[in-house]
């Protein structure tokens, strides 16, 4: 195992790592987690519904045709309660707009609940089949995760169409062993570039101090960059890396001298080819590795650049990919990408070691 990693490292980095870089990763740990839209992480939301006590399974169909519930398709119409001998079925009727859901999770009736006959005179059922009508709180949104499904089902029978991919992200492992080995190697490269940047006394005013861009199809490390904020206050590592990709494609805007930036030689991309529509377009399909969560400027720059996926180590106080915003899931934007955090994050159990060795 150790042999394969070091062989791969040589392949990845073309001798970028030096002997004194090898021991600097001991204070980092990987606790990978997906940064999903709030819809995936929030708890059950409730809506007030009226239901009726009922006796016979067959005849509730009459209710569903007269009282359709198009916006609550995730709810099962019938809940069985065998302890209720007279009316073992509870059948949902319609939203109860007059009742507001209360904060303690119980409905607070503020008006008399109308009888089924008053609600829907067209329904003609014998009196002995129908019991009283009541108000109940039910889950208002279709569950997106198994945890939401279980919480919702405890309230009212709910259907769940499991998204296998999301479930895998939530339960893990997110990456295979080999994928994680690669991902950590890319991040080690980002950490090393960050260190080189600090040696050049670039203050780390940028949001993250190291950024690596990879083409996941070829596994080729394309770009590594650190912030150049001493030269330009907006040249955070991500902004520098994006322009180096442009440079790799035969254009770009910034000029640097003497920085420890890395541009892979992509010989197969002659300038005349990239101007045609077959060439790479911005950072489409690329994966980005940053040491810390990017700020709002860098995050939107990555949306504009159409990356596929971003990994970061530690969250940032004003970070835009999980902390202050979740820009990668922002409704209305023309591009979305995946975000995973906790890849080689600083291990705070050895933070004393960290401070003494990283700042050295």
């Amino acid at each position: 195992m150790a042999v394969s990693v070091s062989a791969k490292k040589r392949k990845l980095s073309d001798g970028f790592f030096e002997d004194d870089d090898k021991d600097q990763f001991s204070m980092y740990v990987t606790k990978l987690e997906p940064v999903l839209a709030d819809d995936y992480t929030k708890g059950v939301q409730f809506a007030c519904m009226m239901f009726v006590h009922f006796t016979i399974q067959k005849q509730y169909k009459e209710l569903t045709t007269h009282l359709p519930m198009p916006r609550l398709q995730h709810l099962k119409r019938v809940k069985k309660d065998l302890s209720n001998k007279d009316h073992p079925l509870s059948v949902l009727l319609c939203p109860d707009d007059k009742n507001q859901s209360s904060e303690d999770g119980n409905p607070k009736p503020c008006h008399r609940t109308p009888s089924l006959r008053e609600l829907c005179p067209a329904i003609d059922l014998p009196d002995d089949v129908v019991g009283g009508t009541y108000t109940v709180l039910v889950p208002s949104r279709a569950p997106l995760t198994r945890a939401q499904f279980e919480a919702a089902s405890a309230v009212w029978p709910t259907t769940f169409h499991e998204d296998k991919y999301i479930s895998r992200l939530l339960t893990g492992p997110i990456l295979t062993c080999e994928e994680q080995e690669y991902a950590e190697d890319y991040m080690k490269f980002a950490i090393t570039v960050a260190r080189r940047g600090r040696q050049l006394q670039q203050d780390s005013a940028g949001c993250s101090d190291g950024c690596v861009i990879v083409d996941p199809n070829t596994k080729k490390l394309l770009i590594a960059a650190h912030p150049v904020t001493k030269q330009h206050p907006l040249h955070h590592a991500v902004m520098v890396a994006i322009d180096l990709v442009a440079k790799q494609q035969g254009a770009g805007s910034y000029t640097y001298r003497g920085e420890h930036l890395f541009i892979a030689n992509t010989g197969e991309l002659p300038a005349e080819q990239t101007s045609e529509k077959t060439g790479p377009y911005l950072c489409t399909g690329y994966d980005v590795y940053v040491t810390a969560e990017p700020c709002i400027m860098c995050s939107m720059a990555l949306v504009h650049s159409r990356i596929r996926r971003l990994y970061y180590g530690d969250p940032s106080p004003d970070g835009a990919l999980g902390t202050k915003y979740k820009l990668h899931t922002q409704p209305g934007l023309n591009h979305k990408f995946e975000v995973f955090r906790g890849l080689l994050m600083k291990d705070h159990t050895v933070s004393g070691v960290l401070n003494s060795s990283v700042d050295a």
Partner: protein
């Protein structure tokens, strides 16, 4: 001069002057359109003078971050170096006239630099960071400093018609839509 209205700006233009400066920005937006770029243009006004200007260069530079505002910021830095004045001092006292509401990225950048005031034309429903999609100018972001002042609605209709003109044509640099290659794990979790 009364400088309370625009924070650190020493220059407080009236309505007519706002319109005059916005016309200058509009000329740059038209230049962008003629060059096959998304038609957005901007100028920085400092001490009653245009000190920097920019227009979109995304396609030319193959860099999606080369928006008019960031191009103009680079020019403003050069101007400050040439005149040997502090960039931070100048940008805090400058007004940016931009034909379209700055996007989320540019709004973050401008607030980061603590720009005095943004005056824009039309709102930007797709990417706007000054209220349309997010409120980057005003949200509580300690590392970006205090909120940034923004005024919209100057020559908004002209700015919109330029954008419509552009998007009716084709962005010459976007790739032809092709059948998506299935990459392992290639899925957007959102």
């Amino acid at each position: 001069m009364d400088n309370l209205e625009f924070g650190a700006c020493h220059y407080s233009p009236d309505q007519e002057q706002h319109e005059f400066w916005m016309e200058q920005a509009m000329i740059l937006a038209k230049d962008a359109l003629n060059s096959g770029e998304v038609p957005v243009g901007c100028i920085f006004v400092y001490d009653e003078h245009i000190v920097a200007k920019g227009r979109n260069q995304v396609n030319m530079k193959k860099n999606a971050t080369r928006h008019a505002e960031l191009v103009a910021i680079d020019m403003l830095m050069e101007w400050c170096q040439m005149k040997n004045v502090g960039f931070n001092h100048v940008i805090k006292r400058s007004i940016l006239y931009v034909t379209v509401e700055p996007c989320i990225m540019c709004c973050g950048a401008l607030r980061h630099l603590q720009l005095g005031l943004v005056v824009y034309g039309c709102s930007n429903d797709r990417f706007g960071g000054c209220g349309s999609v997010l409120n980057v100018h005003a949200d509580d972001l300690t590392s970006l400093g205090p909120p940034m002042k923004c005024i919209g609605g100057y020559f908004g209709d002209e700015a919109v018609s330029l954008l419509k003109h552009f998007y009716h044509g084709e962005n010459p640099n976007t790739p032809c839509p092709k059948i998506k290659k299935k990459v392992h794990g290639d899925k957007i979790a959102s």
